[in-house]
Symmetry: C2
Subunit: 385 residues, 2 copies
């Protein structure tokens, strides 16, 4: 054998399992498998540091707390997924009376050290456990959490924030962030050609593998060509890609595909949704290489208790890129488009049956040229892994 | 957040969790977590192809079956972890009356296709499930399995072979492979210097991170320097490395540190062991950069039922390297050694508490120069992940 074990990258190929297996398919989730798959990453300081080094992320949360001290001063706060504890520490420094900092991983040990070293241990209480299980001694005025995954919803962590909100937020409580939006835009990129050639190389390699196995070992493997092809189409062409785009790669008007009010959203609102949007090409004679998805969140309190509006955006930027980057859904072959053309996109997102923290996307796009000429719709499935 | 989920590599860093979390620590193993961590990889054809493309591996098993037809002709065979089913197909082609091919992953679907396409579906029965749970209609004459992980024992898959043997092998039955050995040798390598500088870079980066976080966000992170240092010493310096060594990198006599008779070995024999060995340096004026570990297995039937001896070795080789490669345990700083010097190595291996398929190593080495001058022993812990 000789393969990856324990979630560590396959030492020989540097390649790790493309998706996790069918555990907790559908509604029921195996806790231990979920921990093995998901939470473990957050138990490492290298990963905490990565998030703590994201200046866009840090500035947004820092300003949202310290420019809205009136939301925190003398108040009780719940930090969902506190990690190293930084948000909890800021809330305490902003005057919170009590901060409950919940974290599922052993990072709690470091959080406690950090909270003590920053002399707020009398205000912040670190609680190790799943938000779903935790019992607090009181309801809170504010829930703060950095729950956003790639393209906002990957990781499905907002579920835990919703659970916390419904159980522990006072009726007039405030959510940090308070609002979230998912964006999509047509882009130009050479990634499609690259991935297509990688794919063709691996299929060519497979063909010679078939021949050798037949000649050397007398076994005909050709029956596996179709499933191998499917596996690799999925891996090279249908899996969305993390990217840090240059704004110049955006060739059309970005459109909002989902809006979330963190105070009222339910799990049903986010676990699956469909939307039809249209965007106009704003660049002359270029090629549509794919669609990019990103998100922003806002911190603006609520109607009865407004605050100074702070935005955290993961949109393509030359100077303010984030560790979230953007997710790219490739269009191959790339399609020639021109200024004024209109693209209609039908977008549906749902959770992966194999792993509720991963996402399946169905995207159908249709081009109407300025001349009025319509293209036939192009439909494709994508996997956010 | 924005992190790896579902075992897929962290999209931002390309780095995956260094180890899996504390599931099934000690004896009790959570099945779902174990599947998520371990078996999932084997559900992908890209990985099956990788193993099927290993000519050293394939030739050894192919020859062991077809040069020992008398062990298979008219016999019943159990293939533990059949994967794509290739070993089962060979056993059938070598004349087996019945072959039970057990596999825990969905790879069974492909195995069934392959077995049918190669017209042995009347002989080979594919059974999807854990070997520990499977019930066969009869005892078998032969158990064949490709169960070897990196440095032989990583993945702990031999446990399932032992379970299969104790429950389903006839008293005079044959094991394929029949014997296994673990080897170790002193080597020269520049990897230690490289990893040390990578480590120093990441610590320097941490220092500036501490300063920035204090200045920009008013939080003193220095209390986390020690645990961050420990996490990174482990990652950069104490985690064994996969390598495909050139035989010229071996600077001393390879020694056997463990021998396993597959017919009689127990789980206790392999789950933890200690050994003290000594090796002499065979190269003039060179530097000890670490120790390399590899394994070989033999196919030679048993005393009452011998066979043509076939060897599968993963020793460093210019023309016959394997996907297993060798595991390297770095010595840093490298130590000057000379022809005739003697190295004594105390080596203990046990299973990781966090994941029973990963291994912890304690290695203490001591140099006695030809002059008789002794060095002070150097002890280090290593992690095979």
């Amino acid at each position: 054998m000789g393969s990856s074990a324990g979630g560590s990258t396959d030492q020989t190929t540097g390649r790790s399992p493309m998706i996790s297996p069918s555990v907790g398919a559908g509604a029921t989730v195996d806790r231990a498998a979920d921990f093995a798959n998901y939470f473990c990453t957050y138990g490492f300081l290298y990963h905490q540091k990565e998030m703590l080094s994201d200046r866009v992320r840090m500035d947004a949360y820092y300003n949202s707390v310290f420019k809205n001290r009136h939301h925190f001063d003398g108040k009780t706060v719940l930090d969902v997924g506190t990690g190293s504890g930084i948000l909890a520490i800021w809330c305490a420094k902003a005057g919170a009376r009590r901060v409950y900092a919940v974290e599922a991983t052993k990072m709690t040990e470091h959080a406690r050290q950090l909270i003590k070293a920053n002399r707020v241990e009398n205000i912040v209480e670190v609680i190790e456990g799943s938000m779903e299980d935790v019992v607090l001694p009181e309801k809170v005025d504010v829930i703060i959490s950095e729950w956003m995954g790639y393209f906002l919803l990957r990781e499905s962590m907002f579920d835990s924030v919703i659970c916390a909100r419904d159980r522990w937020l006072k009726p007039d409580g405030v959510m940090y962030p308070s609002h979230a939006r998912m964006w999509m835009a047509p882009i130009r990129t050479g990634l499609g050609e690259q991935k297509t050639s990688d794919f063709e190389l691996s299929m060519g390699d497979w063909e010679s593998f078939i021949d050798e196995t037949e000649q050397q070992y007398g076994v005909d493997m050709s029956v596996l060509t179709k499933p191998f092809h499917e596996e690799h189409v999925r891996y090279y062409l249908k899996t969305s890609l993390w990217s840090n785009l240059n704004p110049h790669q955006i060739i059309g008007k970005p459109v909002i595909i989902k809006e979330i009010d963190c105070l009222t959203a339910t799990v049903d609102d986010i676990k699956a949704f469909s939307v039809k949007v249209s965007s106009s090409i704003t660049m002359e004679k270029t090629r549509l290489g794919g669609f990019a998805g990103w998100f922003d969140v806002h911190f603006r309190g609520n109607r009865n208790n407004p605050g100074h509006d702070i935005e955290l955006t993961t949109a393509p930027s030359t100077n303010h890129s984030t560790h979230w980057g953007q997710q790219i859904f490739l269009v191959h072959p790339a399609r020639c488009v021109d200024d004024g053309d209109n693209i209609t996109v039908s977008f549906s997102m749902s959770r992966s049956r194999e792993n509720h923290r991963l996402l399946d996307v169905e995207l159908t796009w249709e081009l109407t040229e300025l001349s009025g000429k319509c293209s036939t719709p192009v439909a494709s499935k994508y996997y956010i892994e």
